[in-house]
């Protein structure tokens, strides 16, 4: 810790709560060498080997840094846009570059900055805040980060070759279909955002399992920091929302590559299907970005006011309500598509109601500020700026929720103004507040208060000058996404003002970056310390292993309420003050009341994650630029690298229990439904199921659009024995796998491996039978959207089955070298989950494809 005289430091003005007698889980003095052993197992690799680091303290910081880089890059694109629009009929850049610029600005800001930035903050903050030593799947975080960083950079570079996507960040077909976008620009978008899909899903798995399973003992859900609540809702929203865009991009890419007409109206497709899928993701996306930021604000405000958050439960409810409601709003991006007025009214009402949870949070922050005494430090300034900008953005949000107003405002600069108020107010300002606020936990010194005030005022004024003006620009008729405009319409002065404001924002960001370069020094030694006198666990003294011992939590602000906690934690008086098994470990606790359950051994540095990420990026890029053979080689190597990183993550349990303190003896690792990996796989399967549900929705949607004639007569469907055979193959394979599980429990490993090898071909066999049955009826995927959808159900099943078979291969390989047995079976159990899910998904698909037309035909 640094001295107490730095100008940043907030003195503890809270009344002394007195000191009740505490019984500590572990006694002092700690044994010789305990701390050194802990430091040794958690030490990060040095030099160039640092690329193999997986610990959240490093990956989290890299991740935040990468997202900030993309913020700057996308911001530079915006500056070029603003220069072009500064004057009417400007010849600065042509339409080709402009259309790529605005597409990239939106795409990079949303997919490479906003979502990754909030996820990155979570990767860094959550374990610290929850009292865990790392995230539950450190190598997955490392993979997600590197895939995002490498893929994102490659994607961004497309702009330098004139190959950047130019269809808008929303990529509406048919503009983005092969007919109107024959180049590979659109493919860059579709495959490029594949990276962010991977890292977002990986992040969601980490966050859900991390929050529910790896909290400090005693941190029951009602003591969970608000930020963790926000991230839990965030992760759940990713699980529900991202699948829609994953499916949408898959459909469009398949349409572009193989001419399957999902969105081509002449062949029964519908461009509105894209819009429904895109906005079912796209609107929640806004809250996916905002909720984490709101969570950060709910952490920073109490510290800056030195008092607990007012209305904790209401704020939690507000977060949950926002997450729920956000899935009922997507149509408000489609008011002008000619939907029936009744459904517009419903979505209009829902879009207004979502203002209430935001209102709850705004007033909770105001009440908290009133209850304490706000210290006007830089983080507090950014919070106040956020309150103003976000409230204004929320108010214009209610305006555009009103259908008649939106018919005018939609796709004009009014909406550009609104969305920047919401996103800059709702995310960028909280993020800057958060950077100022939390940098002392990672850097040797905090950022400058003096420079910070300049940064704030430049950005605050710049944002309002740029974007407040745009409300008017839109109302006087300027549409979005135009590369130039004529002089006579009264838009000139307004645009010039916006351009000046944009450069003020840029000046603020530049100043911030300079301060960052000057003062930000990552440290694995002492950091700047608890400069704001905050109350939550991330402010405890920490090293690469986080805290020396894992505290027992008795309130929402343990540092405030448990006197001497930092020193006690540092001396090792709390749980797990060293390493119990000589490896990286963390405590797994129960999801609701956080009672210790078992000791989880965590994997350390490994090159597999890094290599797999680069190879994944190479795979996607190869596909995009149509270098198929290198792409396939990279894909195969990526799978090998993933096997490598997974290889030593299933440690198996040990017979002896370990003492973590307070007489609590915990088993090491676990299998079955208490295991963290079981939770991870279940979360992943929810994602997969949502993707499939979105495809079934697409099937039903296209049927609704086209009417009953879209479906074939029962006579033209494959006969029922054909799907019955497919079903038999899948159910049979699941039974064989269950049998393998039994034999594994009985102590064998040869027979289970053989049974897996026997069951595996049954999965593709079922798909082959289904596809063959459809082909025999003369149905072709390229002729109608019905055919495309039917074959797509099989294709999706095929992709998942391929993943299951790779997992089976992994497990069989482990069997062969004796790494799978009854005491070490997490990989087998997880394979079983995947397998049975594949069977269930296949059966649902058969029911839809063979049952639904017959059902409609009967009615």
């Amino acid at each position: 810790m640094t001295d107490n005289t730095t100008p940043h430091r907030i003195a503890d003005t809270r009344a002394d709560r007195g000191s009740a007698r505490i019984t500590y889980p572990n006694s002092l003095p700690r044994p010789e060498g305990e701390l050194e052993a802990l430091e040794r197992v958690w030490a990060a690799p040095k030099g160039w080997r640092k690329l193999s680091v997986v610990n959240n303290n490093y990956i989290g910081v890299y991740y935040v840094g990468a997202s900030f880089l993309f913020f700057i890059l996308a911001g530079l694109l915006a500056l070029i846009i603003r220069v072009q629009l500064a004057t009417p009929d400007n010849q600065f850049i042509g339409h080709e570059l402009y259309n790529q610029l605005f597409t990239m600005h939106g795409t990079v800001m949303m997919f490479l900055f906003a979502v990754p930035a909030v996820e990155a903050m979570a990767v860094y903050l959550l374990p610290n805040m929850l009292g865990a030593r790392d995230l539950p799947f450190p190598r997955l975080s490392a993979y997600a980060f590197w895939a995002y960083f490498a893929g994102g950079l490659a994607f961004f570079c497309s702009i330098f070759f004139g190959l950047a996507p130019n269809g808008g960040w929303f990529m509406y077909p048919p503009l983005t279909s092969t007919e109107y976008s024959p180049g590979i620009n659109a493919d860059f978008w579709l495959l490029g955002i594949g990276f962010i899909e991977i890292s977002a899903i990986a992040g969601a798995v980490e966050i859900i399992v991390g929050i529910l399973k790896t909290r400090a003992p005693g941190m029951s859900l009602d003591k969970l920091p608000i930020y963790a609540w926000a991230m839990l809702v965030f992760a759940a929203m990713i699980v529900i929302g991202f699948p829609a865009v994953i499916l949408a991009t898959a459909l469009l890419e398949v349409e572009r590559a193989f001419d399957w007409p999902f969105f081509i109206a002449e062949r029964g497709g519908d461009p509105l299907l894209w819009q429904h899928l895109f906005w079912f993701f796209g609107h929640p996306e806004v809250y996916i970005i905002f909720l984490p930021a709101a969570g950060m604000v709910s952490m920073i405000v109490p510290t800056m006011a030195q008092t607990p958050l007012v209305g904790y439960r209401l704020v939690v409810l507000a977060l949950l309500a926002t997450g729920f409601l956000s899935f009922g709003l997507w149509v408000h991006h489609m008011y002008t598509t000619g939907l029936p007025h009744l459904s517009l009214s419903f979505f209009s009402a829902a879009s207004s109601v979502v203002a209430i949870p935001s209102g709850i949070q705004v007033f909770a922050w105001i009440a908290t500020i009133a209850a304490g005494k706000l210290q006007l430090k830089t983080p507090a300034l950014f919070i106040l700026g956020f309150l103003f900008i976000f409230t204004l953005g929320g108010l214009t949000g209610v305006m555009v929720a009103m259908v008649p107003f939106d018919w005018q405002a939609h796709d004009t600069y009014f909406v550009v103004a609104h969305l920047h108020y919401v996103l800059i107010g709702g995310m960028v300002f909280p993020l800057f507040a958060a950077l100022y606020y939390w940098i002392p936990t990672v850097s040797r010194q905090p950022l400058s208060e003096r420079v910070g005030k300049w940064v704030f005022w430049l950005m605050f004024l710049g944002v309002n000058i740029t974007f407040f003006t745009m409300h008017i620009t839109g109302l006087v008729g300027m549409p979005r996404r135009v590369y130039t405009y004529p002089a006579a319409l009264g838009w000139d002065t307004l645009n010039l003002i916006s351009t000046i404001g944009a450069f003020m924002i840029a000046a603020g960001v530049l100043l911030f970056t300079i301060d960052l370069v000057r003062r930000f020094r990552v440290t694995d030694g002492p950091n700047a310390g608890n400069v704001w006198n905050a109350g939550t666990l991330e402010w405890l003294p920490a090293g690469d292993y986080q805290t020396r011992s894992i505290p027992e939590v008795r309130s929402r602000e343990p540092i405030w309420d448990q006197p001497n906690l930092p020193e006690d934690v540092k001396e090792g008086r709390y749980y797990l003050p060293g390493t119990a098994t000589g490896q990286r470990e963390t405590l797994v606790t129960t999801p609701i009341d956080a009672r210790p359950q078992y000791l989880l051994q965590l994997p350390g540095p490994n090159w597999g994650s890094f290599l797999a990420a680069l190879l994944t990026a190479a795979f996607f890029m190869g596909l995009t630029i149509k270098l198929y053979v290198p792409a396939m080689i990279a894909g195969g190597l990526a799978i090998a690298a993933i096997f490598w990183w997974m290889w030593d993550t299933d440690h198996g349990g040990s017979d002896t229990e370990v003492d973590v303190g307070a007489g609590i003896k915990l088993p090491v690792n676990a299998s079955g439904s208490v295991s963290h990996s079981w939770w991870g796989v279940v979360t992943l399967l929810l994602v997969v199921a949502m993707i499939y549900i979105c495809l079934v929705f697409s099937y039903l949607f296209l049927w609704l659009v086209n009417g009953d004639a879209w479906l074939p007569d029962a006579a033209r469907l494959p006969e029922l024995w054909q799907p019955a055979l497919s079903a038999l193959a899948w159910i049979g394979s699941s039974i064989v796998v269950i049998l393998a599980g039994r034999l594994l429990s009985a102590g064998g490993w040869v027979a289970p491996a053989l049974l897996l090898l026997l069951a595996a071909p049954l999965l593709p066999l079922g798909i082959w039978l289904e596809v063959q049955g459809q082909l025999e009826t003369g149905l072709r995927p390229t002729e109608t959207s019905y055919g495309a959808t039917v074959y797509m159900l099989s294709a999706l099943q095929g992709v998942f089955v391929a993943a299951v078979m790779l997992s089976a291969l992994f497990v069989v390989l482990r069997c062969l070298v004796g790494l799978v047995h009854n005491g070490r079976r997490a990989s087998f159990d997880n394979l079983q989950l995947l397998w049975h899910y594949a069977t269930a998904q296949g059966l649902v698909g058969l029911l839809v494809v063979h049952g639904f037309p017959r059902l409609v035909g009967m009615g």
């Binding site: 048919p174 209305g311 209430i356 008649p404 796709d411 008017i472 006087v476 319409l489």
Partner: protein, 317 residues
């Protein structure tokens, strides 16, 4: 538009309405701006008080009660009132009965094909990039697209409605007073989305009838020698492969109908004024003015040929 502080009026402005639909939205806008401004002020004042007010006041505010009143009850009441008012106001605009006129507009990359329909939905008259309508009666617009998604929008008259492949969207609105209003494509539709505008010209019903009658006639015969030369240039350069001039051999349907092109307010989908000079400029450098559109630059025409062609087209009133 010389006055830089006049940011409200304009021929393409939501805030200078010229028909009942746009007037209702403009009224709604001003009410919401007023109310929104007050609520923003309230939040700012509350925040300022929460920071700077005396401790007693701050203590009273710093309670859960504030969250319930300010965050739940207050927005609930305001939103419910707004929602019901909007619902009520919007339904008052719905008119029954047959429209006074039916116009089909087809979005093309990047211009507007305009069909005036007869009562049996057949195309009765074709024009482009300019829609003339009579004042004082609801006009129905049937909107469809020939290629990608476009959006039909005349801010001074009504909100926008999308043109989507495979669908026909229609709505109706009326204009109160004669005038020229500018519309523009509002859905990003590719390279020249920025240059896809049009004009709506509202006329007294009698004047409209005269205009409509004239538009249904075949093209005027050239009166001057230069115009006649222009027609020859038109034919010799194959303009008729893409354009129709009714009463001549030119019957192309790829580009706009030019039968009465000289009578229109603008050229090239609302981006150039219409006169001999701009006609010549457009013909010789269409790819420079609007890169990527289907019209080639006829930059091989000689000066005299170009002038003749422009004066011929200008004569097609």
């Amino acid at each position: 538009m010389g006055d830089p502080f006049d940011i409200v009026s304009g021929i393409q402005s939501v805030l200078s309405p010229a028909g009942p639909h746009a007037a209702w939205v403009a009224q709604l806008s001003w009410v919401m701006f007023g109310a929104g401004g007050l609520i923003l002020l309230l939040v700012v004042v509350m925040t300022a008080l929460a920071i700077f007010a005396p401790a007693g006041f701050r203590q009273a505010v710093g309670q859960r009660r504030t969250v319930v009143i300010g965050g739940i009850l207050f927005p609930l009441v305001v939103l419910a009132a707004l929602f019901l008012w909007v619902l009520n106001g919007s339904s008052a605009l719905v008119t029954a009965g047959p429209p006074g006129l039916r116009v089909e507009v087809v979005g093309e990359r990047w211009w507007w094909r305009v069909h005036y329909l007869d009562p049996e939905d057949r195309v009765h008259m074709v024009t482009a990039n300019e829609i003339r309508i009579p004042t004082g009666m609801p006009v129905e617009f049937r909107l469809r697209t020939a290629d990608v998604i476009h959006s039909f929008w005349v801010p001074s008259l009504a909100g926008k409605l999308d043109m989507i492949p495979g669908r026909i969207n229609s709505y109706r609105f009326a204009v109160d007073k004669p005038g020229v209003y500018r519309g523009q494509c509002a859905e990003y539709c590719g390279e020249q989305h920025a240059k896809m505008a049009f004009y709506v010209v509202a006329m007294e019903p009698a004047a409209f009838e005269d205009w409509y009658g004239a538009q249904t006639l075949p093209a005027a015969e050239p009166a001057l020698a230069s115009e006649e030369l222009g027609r020859d240039v038109f034919e010799a350069n194959g303009c008729g492969a893409c354009h129709t001039v009714r009463g001549t051999a030119a019957d192309g349907v790829i580009g706009p109908d030019l039968t009465h092109v000289g009578s229109r307010v603008s050229l090239a989908a609302g981006i150039l004024p219409n006169n001999r000079g701009t006609l010549a400029g457009w013909i010789s450098s269409a790819q420079h003015i609007k890169p990527g559109n289907l019209m080639p630059s006829f930059d091989t025409l000689s000066g005299p040929e170009l002038r003749a062609l422009a004066s011929y087209l200008e004569s097609l009133k």
